[in-house]
Protein backbone atom coordinates (compact mmCIF):
# COMPACT_ATOMS: atom_id res chain seq x y z
CA UNK A 1 0.00 0.00 0.00
CA UNK A 2 1.14 3.53 -0.59
CA UNK A 3 2.43 4.73 2.71
CA UNK A 4 1.99 8.33 1.76
CA UNK A 5 -1.79 8.08 1.91
CA UNK A 6 -1.68 7.16 5.50
CA UNK A 7 -0.30 9.79 7.74
CA UNK A 8 0.65 8.98 11.24
CA UNK A 9 0.56 11.81 13.65
CA UNK A 10 3.72 13.56 14.52
CA UNK A 11 4.53 11.65 17.64
CA UNK A 12 4.30 8.32 15.96
CA UNK A 13 7.92 7.46 16.19
CA UNK A 14 8.37 8.10 19.87
CA UNK A 15 5.13 6.33 20.61
CA UNK A 16 6.20 3.23 18.77
CA UNK A 17 9.34 3.03 20.81
CA UNK A 18 7.38 3.52 23.97
CA UNK A 19 4.73 0.92 23.23
CA UNK A 20 7.18 -1.71 22.10
CA UNK A 21 7.82 -2.53 25.68
CA UNK A 22 4.12 -2.72 26.52
CA UNK A 23 3.54 -5.04 23.58
CA UNK A 24 6.04 -7.51 24.82
CA UNK A 25 4.82 -7.48 28.36
CA UNK A 26 1.17 -8.24 27.35
CA UNK A 27 -0.49 -11.28 28.83
CA UNK A 28 -2.43 -13.73 26.73
CA UNK A 29 -5.75 -12.33 27.87
CA UNK A 30 -4.75 -8.82 26.94
CA UNK A 31 -3.65 -10.03 23.56
CA UNK A 32 -6.94 -11.75 23.06
CA UNK A 33 -8.80 -8.68 24.12
CA UNK A 34 -6.85 -6.55 21.70
CA UNK A 35 -7.60 -9.02 18.99
CA UNK A 36 -11.30 -8.86 19.70
CA UNK A 37 -11.42 -5.10 19.80
CA UNK A 38 -9.54 -4.94 16.54
CA UNK A 39 -11.87 -7.49 15.01
CA UNK A 40 -15.01 -5.63 15.94
CA UNK A 41 -15.36 -1.93 15.34
CA UNK A 42 -18.47 0.12 15.79
CA UNK A 43 -18.25 3.31 13.87
CA UNK A 44 -20.07 6.53 14.34
CA UNK A 45 -19.50 8.16 10.98
CA UNK A 46 -19.61 11.86 11.61
CA UNK A 47 -20.30 13.38 8.21
CA UNK A 48 -18.90 16.81 8.90
CA UNK A 49 -17.80 17.68 5.39
CA UNK A 50 -17.62 16.51 1.82
CA UNK A 51 -15.65 13.38 2.79
CA UNK A 52 -18.89 11.96 4.05
CA UNK A 53 -19.82 11.18 0.48
CA UNK A 54 -17.14 8.51 0.45
CA UNK A 55 -18.46 6.67 3.45
CA UNK A 56 -21.68 5.13 2.09
CA UNK A 57 -19.86 3.07 -0.53
CA UNK A 58 -17.53 1.85 2.17
CA UNK A 59 -20.35 0.56 4.30
CA UNK A 60 -22.54 -0.82 1.54
CA UNK A 61 -22.30 -3.49 -1.10
CA UNK A 62 -19.58 -1.87 -3.18
CA UNK A 63 -16.80 -2.12 -0.63
CA UNK A 64 -18.57 -3.99 2.17
CA UNK A 65 -16.41 -3.07 5.10
CA UNK A 66 -18.58 -5.30 7.32
CA UNK A 67 -16.21 -8.05 6.18
CA UNK A 68 -13.65 -6.55 8.52
CA UNK A 69 -16.07 -6.36 11.39
CA UNK A 70 -16.73 -2.67 10.94
CA UNK A 71 -20.33 -1.69 11.50
CA UNK A 72 -21.98 1.68 11.61
CA UNK A 73 -23.89 2.68 14.71
CA UNK A 74 -25.97 5.73 15.43
CA UNK A 75 -24.91 6.89 18.83
CA UNK A 76 -21.49 7.71 20.22
CA UNK A 77 -22.16 5.67 23.35
CA UNK A 78 -21.99 2.47 21.34
CA UNK A 79 -19.15 3.48 19.09
CA UNK A 80 -15.46 2.61 19.18
CA UNK A 81 -14.42 4.73 16.25
CA UNK A 82 -15.42 8.11 15.03
CA UNK A 83 -14.76 9.19 11.48
CA UNK A 84 -14.51 12.92 11.10
CA UNK A 85 -15.01 13.20 7.39
CA UNK A 86 -13.60 16.46 6.23
CA UNK A 87 -13.37 20.06 7.32
CA UNK A 88 -14.82 21.10 10.67
CA UNK A 89 -16.47 24.45 10.95
CA UNK A 90 -16.74 25.99 14.40
CA UNK A 91 -20.31 24.90 14.59
CA UNK A 92 -19.44 21.32 13.72
CA UNK A 93 -16.44 21.17 15.96
CA UNK A 94 -18.61 21.69 18.98
CA UNK A 95 -20.61 18.59 18.05
CA UNK A 96 -17.53 16.63 17.17
CA UNK A 97 -16.02 17.26 20.57
CA UNK A 98 -19.29 16.43 22.23
CA UNK A 99 -19.56 13.18 20.34
CA UNK A 100 -15.98 12.32 21.12
CA UNK A 101 -16.50 12.90 24.82
CA UNK A 102 -19.49 10.62 24.86
CA UNK A 103 -17.76 7.60 23.37
CA UNK A 104 -16.68 4.87 25.72
CA UNK A 105 -13.04 4.01 25.93
CA UNK A 106 -11.10 2.63 24.19
CA UNK A 107 -12.10 5.01 21.44
CA UNK A 108 -10.37 5.97 18.21
CA UNK A 109 -10.72 8.73 15.68
CA UNK A 110 -10.08 8.50 11.99
CA UNK A 111 -9.74 11.88 10.37
CA UNK A 112 -10.69 11.74 6.72
CA UNK A 113 -9.34 14.12 4.13
CA UNK A 114 -6.71 16.81 4.04
CA UNK A 115 -8.85 19.44 5.66
CA UNK A 116 -8.54 17.69 8.99
CA UNK A 117 -4.77 17.73 8.75
CA UNK A 118 -4.02 21.29 7.76
CA UNK A 119 -7.22 22.90 6.60
CA UNK A 120 -6.80 21.70 3.04
CA UNK A 121 -8.55 23.95 0.59
CA UNK A 122 -10.03 25.82 3.54
CA UNK A 123 -6.58 26.71 4.82
CA UNK A 124 -7.44 30.42 5.00
CA UNK A 125 -11.08 30.16 5.97
CA UNK A 126 -12.10 32.17 8.99
CA UNK A 127 -14.62 29.55 10.00
CA UNK A 128 -12.95 26.16 9.82
CA UNK A 129 -10.34 24.65 12.03
CA UNK A 130 -7.01 23.71 10.54
CA UNK A 131 -5.78 20.90 12.73
CA UNK A 132 -8.26 18.48 14.23
CA UNK A 133 -5.63 17.04 16.54
CA UNK A 134 -5.50 20.26 18.49
CA UNK A 135 -8.97 19.64 19.76
CA UNK A 136 -9.41 15.89 20.11
CA UNK A 137 -7.11 12.91 20.04
CA UNK A 138 -6.72 11.59 16.52
CA UNK A 139 -5.43 8.10 15.78
CA UNK A 140 -5.40 7.91 12.07
CA UNK A 141 -5.35 10.44 9.25
CA UNK A 142 -6.49 9.45 5.81
CA UNK A 143 -5.16 12.17 3.59
CA UNK A 144 -6.45 13.22 0.23
CA UNK A 145 -9.02 15.45 -1.30
CA UNK A 146 -11.10 13.42 -1.53
CA UNK A 147 -9.58 10.17 -0.34
CA UNK A 148 -11.00 7.18 -2.15
CA UNK A 149 -12.97 4.53 -0.25
CA UNK A 150 -10.03 2.22 -0.66
CA UNK A 151 -7.93 4.69 1.30
CA UNK A 152 -10.46 4.71 4.09
CA UNK A 153 -10.45 0.93 4.18
CA UNK A 154 -6.69 1.03 4.28
CA UNK A 155 -6.93 3.34 7.21
CA UNK A 156 -9.19 0.90 9.00
CA UNK A 157 -6.89 -1.98 8.31
CA UNK A 158 -3.90 -0.10 9.61
CA UNK A 159 -5.78 0.97 12.68
CA UNK A 160 -6.88 -2.60 13.33
CA UNK A 161 -3.33 -3.77 12.94
CA UNK A 162 -1.97 -1.28 15.39
CA UNK A 163 -4.73 -2.04 17.89
CA UNK A 164 -4.11 -5.74 17.55
CA UNK A 165 -0.40 -5.33 18.03
CA UNK A 166 -0.82 -2.50 20.48
CA UNK A 167 1.72 -0.46 18.60
CA UNK A 168 0.32 3.02 19.06
CA UNK A 169 -0.54 5.12 21.99
CA UNK A 170 -4.22 5.72 21.36
CA UNK A 171 -5.39 9.28 20.91
CA UNK A 172 -7.79 9.09 23.84
CA UNK A 173 -4.93 8.34 26.24
CA UNK A 174 -3.09 11.39 25.03
CA UNK A 175 -6.28 13.39 25.29
CA UNK A 176 -6.65 12.42 28.91
CA UNK A 177 -3.07 13.10 29.74
CA UNK A 178 -2.87 16.49 28.03
CA UNK A 179 -6.41 17.44 28.77
CA UNK A 180 -5.44 20.97 29.81
CA UNK A 181 -3.93 21.57 26.39
CA UNK A 182 -6.92 20.33 24.49
CA UNK A 183 -9.28 22.16 26.76
CA UNK A 184 -7.45 25.43 26.29
CA UNK A 185 -7.62 25.02 22.54
CA UNK A 186 -11.30 24.22 22.67
CA UNK A 187 -12.06 27.14 24.94
CA UNK A 188 -10.17 29.54 22.78
CA UNK A 189 -12.48 28.77 19.90
CA UNK A 190 -15.75 27.88 21.47
CA UNK A 191 -15.89 29.74 24.74
CA UNK A 192 -16.42 28.28 28.15
CA UNK A 193 -20.05 27.41 28.22
CA UNK A 194 -19.83 24.49 25.85
CA UNK A 195 -17.16 22.76 27.84
CA UNK A 196 -17.54 19.02 27.96
CA UNK A 197 -18.68 17.49 31.14
CA UNK A 198 -16.11 15.22 32.64
CA UNK A 199 -16.72 13.50 35.89
CA UNK A 200 -13.32 12.06 36.47
CA UNK A 201 -10.10 13.76 37.21
CA UNK A 202 -7.91 12.70 34.33
CA UNK A 203 -4.75 14.15 35.70
CA UNK A 204 -4.61 11.87 38.68
CA UNK A 205 -5.69 8.77 36.86
CA UNK A 206 -3.54 5.73 36.52
CA UNK A 207 -3.25 4.81 32.87
CA UNK A 208 -2.86 1.23 31.92
Amino acid sequence: MQKGFVAYNNEQKSLEAETEGIKNSQTLIQKAMNWFSARSMFVVAYGTGCGAIEMPPVFTSRYDIERLGVVGVATPRQADIMIVSGYCSLKTLRRVIRTYEQMSEPKYVIALGSCTINGGMYWDSYNTIKKLEEYIGVDMYVAGCMPRPEALIEGFVKLQESIRNNTIQPGYVKYREDYAYYQANQEKLLGKETQPVYEEDYAGMNLS
Binding site: M33, S37, S61, E66, V73, T75, R77
Partner: protein, 292 residues
Protein backbone atom coordinates in the same frame (compact mmCIF):
# COMPACT_ATOMS: atom_id res chain seq x y z
CA UNK B 1 -30.37 -30.12 37.10
CA UNK B 2 -28.05 -27.16 37.36
CA UNK B 3 -25.82 -28.64 34.71
CA UNK B 4 -28.85 -28.95 32.50
CA UNK B 5 -29.72 -25.34 33.06
CA UNK B 6 -26.16 -24.31 32.31
CA UNK B 7 -26.13 -26.31 29.10
CA UNK B 8 -29.41 -24.78 28.06
CA UNK B 9 -28.06 -21.33 28.69
CA UNK B 10 -24.82 -21.92 26.86
CA UNK B 11 -26.62 -23.50 23.95
CA UNK B 12 -28.99 -20.59 23.73
CA UNK B 13 -26.11 -18.15 23.86
CA UNK B 14 -24.07 -20.01 21.28
CA UNK B 15 -26.91 -20.71 18.88
CA UNK B 16 -28.28 -17.26 19.33
CA UNK B 17 -25.05 -15.64 18.23
CA UNK B 18 -24.49 -18.18 15.55
CA UNK B 19 -27.89 -17.53 14.09
CA UNK B 20 -27.36 -13.83 14.38
CA UNK B 21 -24.11 -14.15 12.48
CA UNK B 22 -25.93 -16.24 9.96
CA UNK B 23 -28.57 -13.61 9.64
CA UNK B 24 -25.96 -10.98 8.93
CA UNK B 25 -24.33 -13.23 6.39
CA UNK B 26 -27.52 -14.06 4.59
CA UNK B 27 -28.55 -10.42 4.54
CA UNK B 28 -25.18 -9.57 3.10
CA UNK B 29 -25.63 -12.13 0.36
CA UNK B 30 -29.05 -10.75 -0.39
CA UNK B 31 -27.48 -7.32 -0.66
CA UNK B 32 -24.79 -8.72 -2.90
CA UNK B 33 -21.84 -8.58 -0.52
CA UNK B 34 -19.80 -11.04 1.46
CA UNK B 35 -20.75 -10.10 4.97
CA UNK B 36 -18.84 -10.57 8.20
CA UNK B 37 -17.63 -13.82 9.61
CA UNK B 38 -20.17 -16.08 11.27
CA UNK B 39 -18.72 -15.34 14.67
CA UNK B 40 -18.79 -11.60 14.18
CA UNK B 41 -21.59 -11.05 16.70
CA UNK B 42 -19.68 -13.05 19.20
CA UNK B 43 -16.61 -10.86 18.67
CA UNK B 44 -18.75 -7.79 19.08
CA UNK B 45 -20.08 -9.07 22.33
CA UNK B 46 -16.64 -9.92 23.74
CA UNK B 47 -15.27 -6.59 22.69
CA UNK B 48 -18.13 -4.72 24.29
CA UNK B 49 -17.75 -6.66 27.51
CA UNK B 50 -14.07 -5.72 27.66
CA UNK B 51 -14.36 -2.05 26.93
CA UNK B 52 -12.68 0.18 29.48
CA UNK B 53 -15.50 2.50 30.27
CA UNK B 54 -19.21 2.70 29.91
CA UNK B 55 -21.52 5.50 30.87
CA UNK B 56 -23.68 4.72 33.85
CA UNK B 57 -26.63 6.98 34.66
CA UNK B 58 -27.47 5.55 38.05
CA UNK B 59 -28.66 2.38 39.69
CA UNK B 60 -31.86 2.03 37.71
CA UNK B 61 -29.94 2.38 34.47
CA UNK B 62 -27.54 -0.21 35.79
CA UNK B 63 -30.31 -2.63 36.72
CA UNK B 64 -32.34 -2.23 33.51
CA UNK B 65 -30.22 -4.40 31.19
CA UNK B 66 -29.72 -6.92 33.98
CA UNK B 67 -33.45 -7.33 34.39
CA UNK B 68 -33.80 -7.59 30.65
CA UNK B 69 -31.17 -10.32 30.50
CA UNK B 70 -32.69 -12.10 33.47
CA UNK B 71 -36.03 -12.11 31.69
CA UNK B 72 -34.51 -13.58 28.55
CA UNK B 73 -32.62 -16.25 30.44
CA UNK B 74 -35.65 -17.09 32.51
CA UNK B 75 -37.64 -17.53 29.31
CA UNK B 76 -35.11 -19.97 27.93
CA UNK B 77 -34.97 -21.94 31.12
CA UNK B 78 -38.73 -22.42 31.16
CA UNK B 79 -38.91 -23.77 27.61
CA UNK B 80 -38.05 -27.46 27.19
CA UNK B 81 -35.51 -28.16 24.46
CA UNK B 82 -36.53 -31.69 23.64
CA UNK B 83 -39.83 -33.45 23.46
CA UNK B 84 -38.87 -36.61 25.29
CA UNK B 85 -39.09 -34.78 28.55
CA UNK B 86 -35.91 -36.17 30.13
CA UNK B 87 -32.97 -33.90 29.54
CA UNK B 88 -32.82 -30.18 28.97
CA UNK B 89 -36.35 -29.52 30.12
CA UNK B 90 -35.08 -26.86 32.48
CA UNK B 91 -37.63 -25.40 34.81
CA UNK B 92 -40.58 -26.10 32.54
CA UNK B 93 -42.31 -28.44 35.04
CA UNK B 94 -42.67 -25.44 37.35
CA UNK B 95 -44.24 -23.20 34.78
CA UNK B 96 -46.37 -23.33 31.71
CA UNK B 97 -47.05 -21.55 28.46
CA UNK B 98 -48.79 -18.60 30.04
CA UNK B 99 -45.89 -18.04 32.39
CA UNK B 100 -43.48 -18.16 29.48
CA UNK B 101 -45.56 -15.67 27.50
CA UNK B 102 -45.32 -13.29 30.41
CA UNK B 103 -41.60 -13.83 30.88
CA UNK B 104 -41.23 -12.68 27.34
CA UNK B 105 -42.44 -9.22 28.31
CA UNK B 106 -40.80 -9.10 31.73
CA UNK B 107 -37.38 -8.36 30.31
CA UNK B 108 -38.49 -5.58 27.98
CA UNK B 109 -40.40 -3.90 30.78
CA UNK B 110 -37.39 -4.00 33.10
CA UNK B 111 -35.31 -2.64 30.28
CA UNK B 112 -37.86 0.08 29.72
CA UNK B 113 -37.35 1.25 33.28
CA UNK B 114 -33.61 1.39 32.77
CA UNK B 115 -33.89 3.18 29.47
CA UNK B 116 -36.32 5.68 30.86
CA UNK B 117 -34.04 6.56 33.71
CA UNK B 118 -31.29 8.12 31.61
CA UNK B 119 -33.49 10.93 30.43
CA UNK B 120 -32.80 10.67 26.75
CA UNK B 121 -36.08 11.24 24.93
CA UNK B 122 -35.01 8.99 22.07
CA UNK B 123 -34.79 6.07 24.46
CA UNK B 124 -38.27 6.67 25.74
CA UNK B 125 -39.53 7.05 22.19
CA UNK B 126 -38.02 3.74 21.27
CA UNK B 127 -39.57 2.09 24.29
CA UNK B 128 -42.94 3.56 23.47
CA UNK B 129 -42.64 2.30 19.94
CA UNK B 130 -41.67 -1.08 21.28
CA UNK B 131 -44.57 -1.29 23.67
CA UNK B 132 -46.96 -0.04 21.02
CA UNK B 133 -45.70 -2.59 18.57
CA UNK B 134 -46.09 -5.19 21.26
CA UNK B 135 -49.84 -4.55 21.13
CA UNK B 136 -49.95 -5.68 17.58
CA UNK B 137 -47.48 -8.50 18.00
CA UNK B 138 -49.13 -10.10 20.94
CA UNK B 139 -52.64 -10.16 19.59
CA UNK B 140 -52.17 -12.78 16.83
CA UNK B 141 -49.55 -14.68 18.77
CA UNK B 142 -51.71 -14.94 21.83
CA UNK B 143 -54.75 -15.98 19.86
CA UNK B 144 -52.71 -18.70 18.21
CA UNK B 145 -51.33 -19.87 21.51
CA UNK B 146 -54.76 -19.78 23.09
CA UNK B 147 -56.02 -21.87 20.22
CA UNK B 148 -53.33 -24.44 20.86
CA UNK B 149 -53.98 -24.48 24.56
CA UNK B 150 -57.68 -25.02 24.00
CA UNK B 151 -57.04 -27.70 21.41
CA UNK B 152 -54.70 -29.55 23.75
CA UNK B 153 -56.72 -28.87 26.90
CA UNK B 154 -53.53 -27.86 28.60
CA UNK B 155 -51.24 -24.95 29.12
CA UNK B 156 -48.22 -27.16 29.57
CA UNK B 157 -45.66 -26.91 26.79
CA UNK B 158 -44.57 -30.51 27.32
CA UNK B 159 -48.13 -31.75 26.85
CA UNK B 160 -48.61 -29.69 23.73
CA UNK B 161 -45.39 -31.14 22.33
CA UNK B 162 -46.32 -34.67 23.27
CA UNK B 163 -49.70 -34.33 21.57
CA UNK B 164 -47.96 -33.66 18.25
CA UNK B 165 -46.51 -37.13 17.99
CA UNK B 166 -48.64 -37.88 14.91
CA UNK B 167 -49.32 -34.54 13.27
CA UNK B 168 -47.47 -31.35 13.90
CA UNK B 169 -49.56 -28.39 14.81
CA UNK B 170 -48.32 -26.62 11.72
CA UNK B 171 -50.40 -29.09 9.75
CA UNK B 172 -53.22 -29.48 12.22
CA UNK B 173 -53.65 -25.75 12.74
CA UNK B 174 -52.06 -24.04 9.74
CA UNK B 175 -53.90 -20.76 10.21
CA UNK B 176 -52.73 -20.47 13.77
CA UNK B 177 -49.20 -21.14 12.60
CA UNK B 178 -49.34 -18.43 9.95
CA UNK B 179 -50.60 -15.90 12.45
CA UNK B 180 -48.04 -16.90 15.04
CA UNK B 181 -45.28 -16.84 12.48
CA UNK B 182 -46.06 -13.32 11.36
CA UNK B 183 -45.91 -12.02 14.89
CA UNK B 184 -42.87 -14.16 15.51
CA UNK B 185 -41.15 -12.14 12.81
CA UNK B 186 -41.97 -9.06 14.76
CA UNK B 187 -40.80 -10.59 18.01
CA UNK B 188 -37.43 -11.20 16.40
CA UNK B 189 -37.26 -7.50 15.68
CA UNK B 190 -36.45 -7.96 12.03
CA UNK B 191 -37.88 -6.10 9.08
CA UNK B 192 -40.59 -5.13 8.49
CA UNK B 193 -41.20 -4.77 12.20
CA UNK B 194 -37.91 -3.22 13.24
CA UNK B 195 -39.15 0.27 13.86
CA UNK B 196 -38.18 0.23 17.52
CA UNK B 197 -34.49 0.81 17.19
CA UNK B 198 -34.53 2.63 13.89
CA UNK B 199 -31.21 4.50 14.02
CA UNK B 200 -32.25 7.14 11.54
CA UNK B 201 -35.40 8.16 13.37
CA UNK B 202 -34.91 7.60 17.04
CA UNK B 203 -31.14 7.30 17.20
CA UNK B 204 -31.06 3.60 18.07
CA UNK B 205 -34.12 3.90 20.27
CA UNK B 206 -33.87 2.01 23.56
CA UNK B 207 -30.17 1.38 23.16
CA UNK B 208 -29.35 5.03 22.67
CA UNK B 209 -27.35 5.43 25.86
CA UNK B 210 -26.08 1.88 26.12
CA UNK B 211 -22.38 1.52 25.67
CA UNK B 212 -19.77 -0.99 26.73
CA UNK B 213 -21.00 -3.70 29.01
CA UNK B 214 -24.61 -2.54 28.90
CA UNK B 215 -24.75 -2.86 25.16
CA UNK B 216 -22.93 -6.18 25.44
CA UNK B 217 -25.54 -7.49 27.81
CA UNK B 218 -28.32 -6.16 25.62
CA UNK B 219 -26.88 -7.89 22.56
CA UNK B 220 -26.34 -11.16 24.42
CA UNK B 221 -29.83 -11.22 25.81
CA UNK B 222 -31.26 -10.48 22.41
CA UNK B 223 -29.38 -13.48 21.03
CA UNK B 224 -30.60 -15.71 23.82
CA UNK B 225 -34.07 -14.35 23.50
CA UNK B 226 -34.18 -14.95 19.75
CA UNK B 227 -33.24 -18.53 20.34
CA UNK B 228 -35.88 -18.84 23.03
CA UNK B 229 -38.52 -17.64 20.62
CA UNK B 230 -37.35 -20.03 17.95
CA UNK B 231 -37.49 -22.79 20.46
CA UNK B 232 -40.98 -21.86 21.52
CA UNK B 233 -42.19 -21.86 17.94
CA UNK B 234 -40.56 -25.23 17.35
CA UNK B 235 -42.08 -26.64 20.51
CA UNK B 236 -45.51 -25.35 19.76
CA UNK B 237 -45.85 -25.94 16.05
CA UNK B 238 -43.13 -28.32 14.93
CA UNK B 239 -43.54 -30.93 17.62
CA UNK B 240 -40.37 -30.12 19.50
CA UNK B 241 -37.07 -31.79 18.86
CA UNK B 242 -36.10 -35.44 19.31
CA UNK B 243 -32.38 -34.96 19.16
CA UNK B 244 -29.83 -32.22 18.92
CA UNK B 245 -29.75 -32.44 15.13
CA UNK B 246 -33.50 -32.29 15.00
CA UNK B 247 -33.40 -29.21 17.18
CA UNK B 248 -30.83 -27.50 15.00
CA UNK B 249 -32.64 -28.42 11.84
CA UNK B 250 -36.03 -27.20 12.96
CA UNK B 251 -34.82 -23.98 14.49
CA UNK B 252 -32.65 -23.35 11.46
CA UNK B 253 -35.49 -23.83 9.02
CA UNK B 254 -37.71 -21.52 10.96
CA UNK B 255 -34.92 -19.03 11.28
CA UNK B 256 -34.04 -18.98 7.63
CA UNK B 257 -37.67 -18.51 6.74
CA UNK B 258 -37.84 -15.49 8.96
CA UNK B 259 -34.59 -14.08 7.61
CA UNK B 260 -35.79 -14.19 4.06
CA UNK B 261 -39.01 -12.43 4.90
CA UNK B 262 -37.05 -9.87 6.84
CA UNK B 263 -34.76 -9.14 3.93
CA UNK B 264 -37.46 -8.68 1.37
CA UNK B 265 -39.57 -6.08 3.13
CA UNK B 266 -38.95 -2.51 4.04
CA UNK B 267 -39.74 -1.08 7.40
CA UNK B 268 -43.23 -0.39 8.65
CA UNK B 269 -43.87 2.61 10.84
CA UNK B 270 -45.20 1.85 14.27
CA UNK B 271 -48.74 2.67 13.33
CA UNK B 272 -48.50 0.69 10.12
CA UNK B 273 -47.10 -2.36 11.80
CA UNK B 274 -49.72 -2.40 14.53
CA UNK B 275 -52.41 -1.73 11.99
CA UNK B 276 -51.17 -4.57 9.81
CA UNK B 277 -50.77 -6.95 12.72
CA UNK B 278 -54.19 -6.16 14.07
CA UNK B 279 -55.77 -6.70 10.70
CA UNK B 280 -54.17 -9.51 8.74
CA UNK B 281 -52.65 -12.01 11.17
CA UNK B 282 -55.22 -11.32 13.86
CA UNK B 283 -58.07 -12.09 11.53
CA UNK B 284 -56.25 -15.21 10.36
CA UNK B 285 -55.72 -16.23 13.96
CA UNK B 286 -59.36 -15.65 14.86
CA UNK B 287 -60.47 -17.75 11.92
CA UNK B 288 -58.00 -20.39 13.02
CA UNK B 289 -59.33 -20.20 16.54
CA UNK B 290 -62.86 -20.78 15.30
CA UNK B 291 -61.68 -23.98 13.64
CA UNK B 292 -60.19 -25.30 16.87
Amino acid sequence: MFIDLLIMLVMAYGFGFLYYGLYRNISARVHGRFGPSLAQSFYDSIKLFTKDTSTDFGWMFFAGPIIMASGAILTVLFIPYFNHGERLVGLSPYGNLIVVLYFMVLGPLGNALGVGSHGNPFGAMGITRGLTRLLGLEMPFYIAVVGLMIANESADIGTIMANQAETYNIIAHPLLFIAAFISFLGFLGKSPFDVVGAPQEVYSGPAVEFGGKFLALALSQSAIFSFAKLLLMVDLFLGGADSLWDLILKTFVLFVASVFVGNVYGRFTTAQSVDFLLKVPTVIAIVGLLFV
